[in-house]
Amino acid sequence: MLNETLAAEVLSLARTGGADFAELFAEDTVSTTLRLHQGEVKDAGGGNLFGAGLRLLYGTRVVYAYTNDVTPQGLRDLAGQVARARGGAGEVGREGTGGLDFRRLEARPLYVAREHPRQTGVREKLALMRRAHGGAAGAGFVKTVDVNYLDRMQRVLIANSEGVWAEDERVWTRMTVSAIAQDGTLRETGYYGPGAGQGLEFFETVPPEQIGAEAARIANAMLHAGYAPAGKLPVVIGNEFGGVIFHEACGHILETTAVEKSASVFADRMGERIAHESVTAIDDGTLPGSWGMVTVDDEGMPGERTVLIEQGVLKSFMVDRVGELKTGHKRTGSGRRQNYTYAPASRMRSTFIDNGRETPQSLISGVAHGIYARKMGGGSVTPGTGDYNFAVQEAYMIRNGEIAEPLRGASLVGNGAQDLLNIVGVAGDLSLGQGMCGSVSGSLPTDVGQPHILISEITVGGRA
């Protein structure tokens, strides 16, 4: 083990510049990536990420350094480097080292992988991918199919000068299918990519054929579609990955990383009504086996279930250690980072709008002229302004309360603070979708989710 004596020595060395707090994060990550194109294995790779980061806090100021020389001397050198960055000597006498009485965090794993990807051969993974290929290939107008498989096992150690000692193993497994449908010069793409914080048993609940079939269904449904109209319209957004709207429009600006800089329109609005009363939104790290699961966050704190908005009222931010220091709001186990090359920041886990009382049908039937955005693509937000966008992968016109012709090429744009008030109906069919979320501490697995919702008015970017 990276033993307690060495960790204590490194933390002490690092604090010789006068830091209030020091934290060591060490990581050993093994990954597999595979790609099938037209059913043939095109890429097989993967490898070993191995490194350590040291974070010091001087008040709320952060010094971070990392290296992948994780030998005892490499770690001592790193500690000396960060200490000297603030004018410290980078060395301590024998009596000054160690002495930390670590308390081992005994967090019970929320989920233990049954078919661990490390114990499963690549040939079995390829067999699963071939099933996904089979689900898409030749369906309707589908001419081209790509299947990607990814697994990642990240082992981490977090030790800090407050005596925290936390270890965790995170397993992620994911399969994504891209299908291209073609008819003459017409061409459209469909994509579906579920994943989980589980081993390969995940594919028992979500059979690979289904993943392929869903990508193919979207590509075929959109192939002969006309272009979406442009302008402000009512929009019904589908469940599962539809939740990307809340993620972009509101999630990012409820992270203390944005709040602490006043780069959030919600910074001073705790306890106020910021959304329609039908909206309850939650960021949950405790869903067993989920893509956004956090048994222990990257600051050594167990994940939590955080109610962000309750019946329209702002209840909590997502808070990490620096966020707590700067804003005074209690940490929520939201300190996350992609790997040792990033200092942790407050980040989303599984973020979703909770079930409401309507049904998808009742939402759609109330719209005279609008859009049904059944499957969403990705999106992004500018934290300072709350202006966000996201792409619609599969959309339909709604005419007189009925789903009508398919539409391609739509995006939705708006402003989080305003559009949250425009969510006027929430159905009861909550489900989660999986994505990679990029922000200051790197790219992380996060779930988005929601039931079907109705937004009274949003700007649609089409060209008809």
Partner: protein, 452 residues
């Protein structure tokens, strides 16, 4: 977690060790290595909010077994870890479908490029911190409407890359960069806007924090007083930075790999007129100040400029060794790899549209329509397989060629090939983005806008 107990080799030692092991095992191997040291200083509210130092190195392996490539990578450079990586690359190759024309080459020498400048050894930590603090202070003091500078700072990096293979190739280069950026948040009458500016250089002394900060504030403040955009189709001026962003988003259309996999709308159209005669599109990895400059590509193939579109005619695709051989041509030196973890694909370096003849107001005399300055959401809203885009946009409304007012968040939509075909005039200066793409300002006849 285990600390590494075995000694770590240097990058060059690791490469030599692996190639020697490969030779004795009869494995055809390529070793791609990177070592980088970097400093980053973020400032907020007059103080350094984050200071970051890093050292990172590792090797990416590519083994060729019976015509098939297998990959692996490791950041652990001990001999046992390197052995495991070699075994893993070979095992992976055995699972992969053989590719016609897969081979390693001992390429001719690369061009001599100075991407290193004077170096950073004479620059103190205090000087770097001062750049970040100056950016923050100048931006905050420049205009009372500046609330704060949420994103601002200084970064530098010193990167060593090497490529060696069992065909005898051995290439190494070092490059350095220093950059600064500031994104002020401005507020007036309940409207919040954020916009910024940046500077990239290979010489620390060339950085000018005052200029970048003032320009950032000017760009952000210009967006205040925004009014809703109308919905409809309008003529537009697209700024060079914005067009460059679109070109980068759609650069996979020019990839020989995307072409051979049936994913490019330009497949089969070499020699055809695919854009306005005003469009000449070049990819040049040899620009001394280019953000993505390099002397050789991820396979060690020497860098040369390449014209993709000449006066509207599609003249070339980007290729690595294998895609080129299968397309019956030679590598253009565009083998691309996202660090040691990536596989070898095809990608652009510094991609830019050449300047035209028209300048300033002459670009849009009397035009009533849009001045499009920025698009975002491209990772999902731009589809290089179809060429279609629908994106969040920023810009201004023009009346009779003059800026009338900025526009509230709106969208633009269309198809990149239609857009390039519809270019009616091109400005006389190329503007670069902070990811290494460039273009002049252009005027197009029609752009679909989604607004109020």
């Amino acid at each position: 977690m285990t600390a590494q107990s075995e000694p770590q080799l240097s990058l060059a030692e690791a490469q030599a060790y692996l190639l020697e092991r490969a030779r004795t095992q009869g494995v055809t191997l390529e070793v791609y290595g990177e070592r980088g040291t970097a400093t980053s200083v973020k400032a907020y509210g007059g103080e350094v909010s984050e200071f970051k130092l890093s050292t990172r190195q590792g090797v990416g392996l590519r083994a060729l077994v019976r015509g098939a490539w297998g990959y692996s990578f490791t950041e652990n450079l001990s001999r046992p870890a390197l052995d495991r990586a070699l075994d893993s690359a070979v095992e992976n190759a055995e699972l992969v479908q053989p590719e016609p024309a897969a081979a390693l080459h001992d390429w001719p020498p690369p061009p001599a490029l100075d991407l290193y400048g004077e170096g950073l050894s004479g620059v103190t930590v205090e000087q770097k911190v001062q750049v970040a603090l100056n950016l923050d202070r100048v931006a905050r003091e420049a205009d009372p409407r500046v609330v704060s500078v949420p994103y601002g700072g200084y970064q530098d990096g010193d990167l060593q890359r090497l490529v060696g293979n069992s065909a005898g190739l051995g290439r190494e280069e070092r490059q350095l960069y220093a950059m600064q950026y500031a994104y002020p948040l401005v507020s007036e009458a309940g409207q919040n806007k954020m916009q910024g500016d940046w500077q990239f250089t290979r010489e620390f002394t060339e950085l000018d924090p005052t200029r970048t900060a003032l320009s950032a504030v000017e760009k952000a403040a210009a967006l205040l007083g925004a009014k809703p955009a109308p919905s409809g189709t309008f003529p537009a001026v697209i700024t060079g930075e914005c067009l460059a962003q679109l070109l980068m988003l759609f650069s996979p259309m020019f990839s020989g790999k995307m072409v051979e996999e049936g994913k490019s709308p330009l497949a089969g159209r070499l020699g055809e007129q695919v854009a306005s005669p005003l469009v000449t599109l070049v990819d040049d990895p040899t620009l001394p100040r280019g953000l993505n400059s390099r002397a050789f590509d991820a396979e060690g193939c020497p860098s040369v400029p390449l014209t993709l579109i000449a006066a509207g005619t599609l003249t070339a695709f980007l290729h690595n060794a294998a895609t080129a051989a299968r397309a019956g041509t030679g590598s253009t030196g565009h083998a691309d790899r996202h660090g040691i973890q990536g596989t070898v694909g095809v990608g652009p370096s510094n991609l830019f549209m050449q300047a035209g003849q028209t300048d300033g107001p002459a670009l849009a005399p009397g035009l009533t329509g849009l001045r499009l300055t920025d698009v975002s959401g491209g990772h999902a809203g731009a589809n290089p397989i179809t060429g279609d885009f629908s994106l969040e946009a920023q810009g201004f409304w023009l009346e009779e060629g003059e800026v009338a007012h900025p526009l509230e968040v709106f969208t633009v939509a269309g198809n990149i090939l239609d857009l390039l075909a519809g270019i009616e005039a091109a400005g006389s200066e190329v503007h670069w983005t902070d990811y290494g793409a460039g273009a002049p300002d252009v005027r197009v006849n029609a752009l679909a806008v989604g607004g109020a």
